[in-house]
C-alpha cells in the first residue's frame, strides 16, 4: 500500500502560474512524511490531489498502483483517513455521532452501526486521548479537543494512511506536542502519515522525510537534516534563519532578528550536522 504522486501539475482556471508544477511524493505505511512551505506554496492543493479531489493537469497519482481517480470514494475512505484544513459542523452533533461517521464508508447507506462499530469509536477516542467524550456535543469542545475528535474520526475506520492539513493550527504548544506524539505513535504502529504544517521545528523532529514547496515547485526533498539548511529555509520563506542542532542531531531553525549577525560558531549556517559530533 503506497500513495504516490509523480510529476504532478495543477493549474487553476484563470491563475497566472500553476498551483503545482512537477511535484513528486510518496507515502508508505510506517512513514512520517511532512510537506512544508510558505503560504500559497501549493501544500493544500497537493493534499487535495493526493485525495483525488483535484484532478491534476499533468502527472499521475496512484494508490497501490491504481490511479486515484479509479478508486471509488467509499473504498478510498477505508484506506486513507484525512483531516482537511477547515471544518465547521453545521448542526450540533455529539462526539459519538461525529466519530461514528468515520465508519460509514464501511457501513454503507443502510446497515445499522453494530457493537464492533461502537467499540471502534470507544477505542479511537481512547487512542486520541478524548476517552469518555462520547456524549458531549461538538460545540462544547476546545480547539485541541475538536482536533483530537476529528483525528479519532479519521482513525475509527482503521485506515493505513493518514493525511492531515495543518492539524495543529491554532493549538498551543502542549496540544501541538500531544498531537505529534500521537502521530508518531501511529507511525510506529505501521500507519503512513503525511502532514502539512508550518511548524518546521516539529517537522525537523518527527518527520522521516520532508518536501519543501515554494510557489508550486518542489525546492528540496529528503530527511529534514538535509532539507532544512539555513540557505534553503531563508530563501524559501524570505527571512534569514540560522540552523542549530538539537542534541539528537535534528535541525533547529531560529529566525534571525532584523540586522542580527551570527557570531562565528554560535550557529551553524551550513547543513553539516555539528551537534551530533560534539
Amino acid at each position: 500500500m503506497i500513495l504516490q504522486a509523480a510529476a504532478v501539475g495543477v493549474r487553476y482556471r484563470g491563475a497566472e502560474r500553476p498551483a503545482l508544477a512537477d511535484v513528486s511524493l510518496a507515502v508508505a505505511p510506517g512513514e512520517f512524511v511532512a510537506v512544508a512551505g510558505p503560504n500559497g506554496s501549493g501544500k493544500t492543493t497537493l493534499l487535495q490531489v493526493l485525495l483525488g479531489l483535484v484532478h491534476p493537469d499533468a502527472g499521475t497519482v496512484t494508490l497501490d498502483g491504481r490511479a486515484i481517480g479509479e478508486w471509488n470514494r467509499r473504498a478510498l475512505a477505508e484506506v486513507i483517513g484525512a483531516l482537511p484544513q477547515r471544518e465547521e459542523p453545521a448542526f450540533p452533533l455529539t462526539v459519538r455521532e461525529a466519530v461514528l461517521m468515520g465508519r460509514w464508508a464501511r457501513l454503507g447507506p443502510i446497515a445499522p452501526a453494530g457493537p464492533a462499530d461502537e467499540a471502534a469509536v470507544v477505542e479511537a477516542l481512547a487512542r486520541c486521548d478524548v476517552a469518555g467524550f462520547e456524549r458531549r456535543t461538538l460545540d462544547t469542545l476546545s480547539g485541541g479537543e475538536w482536533q483530537r475528535v476529528r483525528l479519532a474520526r479519521a482513525l475509527v475506520a482503521s485506515p493505513r494512511l493518514l493525511l492531515l492539513d495543518e492539524p495543529t493550527a491554532a493549538l498551543d504548544v502542549g496540544h501541538e506536542m500531544e498531537l505529534f506524539e500521537l502521530l508518531a505513535a501511529l507511525v510506529a504502529s505501521g500507519i503512513g502519515v503525511l502532514v502539512i504544517t508550518h511548524q518546521l521545528h516539529l517537522v525537523a523532529r518527527y518527520a522521516h522525510r520532508v518536501l519543501l514547496l515554494d510557489r508550486g515547485c518542489a525546492v528540496s526533498a529528503g530527511p529534514p537534516a538535509a532539507v532544512f539548511t539555513a540557505e534553503t529555509v531563508s530563501r524559501v520563506f524570505g527571512w534569514p534563519v540560522g540552523v542549530m542542532r538539537w542534541t539528537d542531531g535534528s535541525p533547529l531553525i531560529v529566525p534571525l532578528r532584523q540586522g542580527e549577525v551570527l557570531p562565528p560558531g554560535a550557529l551553524s549556517s551550513t547543513s553539516s550536522p555539528q551537534g551530533s559530533s560534539s
Binding site: Q48, L51, L53, N72, R73, R74, L76, A77, E78, I80, G81, A82, P84, R86, E87, E88, P89, A90, F91, P92, L93, T94, E97, M101, G102, W104, A105, L107, P109, I110, E118, R153, A154
Partner: protein, 326 residues
Amino acid sequence: MTRYRFALPILGIGAILALLIALVFGAVPLTPAAIVAALGDAASPHAAIIRDLRFPRVILAFLVGGSLAVAGAALQAMLRNPLAEPWLLGLSGGASLGAVIAVVAGFPAGWSVAACATIGALAAAVLVYRISVVAGRRLDPRILLLAGVVVGAFASAVTTALLAVSDPFTFYSATIWLFGGFGRASWSATWHFAAVAAVPLLLLWWLARALDLLALGETTAATLGIDVDRTRRLVVVAASVLTAATVAAAGVIGFVGLVVPHALRPIVGPLHRGLLPAVFLAGGAFTVLADMAARTIVRPAELPVGVITAIVGVPIFAVLLRRTAA
C-alpha cells in the same frame, strides 16, 4: 443510544391525533362518534363529508406537509444552512411557473401539470445554484438564499404576466390554486401525490447518511467516502420533484420545510436517519393542523393554508436569520 428511538413513536401518535382532530373540526363540526360511524358505515349521515371530502383532504395535507419538511431538511443539510427551504430557494416559484405554463398552454390537468412543475422547480434550482457560484467562488449560504428569493420573485413576475394575459377563467382558477390549499383534495389527487412523492422520499432516506456527511462540508464528506457531486445532484432532483409534487397538488405553501426541521433537530438530533422520518411525521401533522386552522378561523370561508404556515414561519425565520448572522 440513538436520540430518535423514543421520539418517533411519540411523533407517530401525535400525527394520528392531529389527523383525528382535523377530521372533527371543519365548516361542519362533527363529533368523534360521528366520524367513527362515517368511517365504518357508508350510509351514515356524514359519510359523504368524512369519506369524500375531509378524509382525503387531511391525508393529502399530511403527505404534502411531510414532503415539504423532508425536502427542507435535506436542502438544509446539503447547503449546511438551517435557512434553506423549498420556497425561499425559489423551487416553489419555479414549480408554480412551470405549472401555470402548463395550464395556460392548455395541457390536460394531472400528470402533464406535475411534469411541468417539476421541470420548473429543477430549472429554478439550477439557476439559483449558477447565480450563487458565479457571485462567489465558494457557495456562500447567504448569497444562495438571496439568489433563491430573486429567482422566486422572477418566476412569480412571469407567472403574474402569464395569468394577466390569460382568459378570466384560467386566471381565477390558477390564482386560487396559487394561494395554496387543500380545498380541491380528492382521493385521486392524494394517490397521484403519493405515487410521485414516494420515490424522492425513499431516495432521500437512502441518502440520510450522505446528508449527515455533506453537512460537515464537502471536503470532509468526500474524505469520509461520499461522492459529493453525485449526492448533491440526487438531493436537488429529489427536493425539486417533491416540491413540484406539492405545488401541483396544493399550490405554494412556504415555511413548513423551515419550521419543522428547526423544531425537531434539538429533540431527535441532526442525524438524518432519524430526522427525516421525524420531520415527515411532524411536518404532516403541522400542515394538517394549519389546514384545519385555515378552514375554521374564517368559517365558512377559507384562508389559504400558506397564510397560516407563514404566520408561524416568518418569526422563526427571523430568529434563525439573526442567529446565523451572529
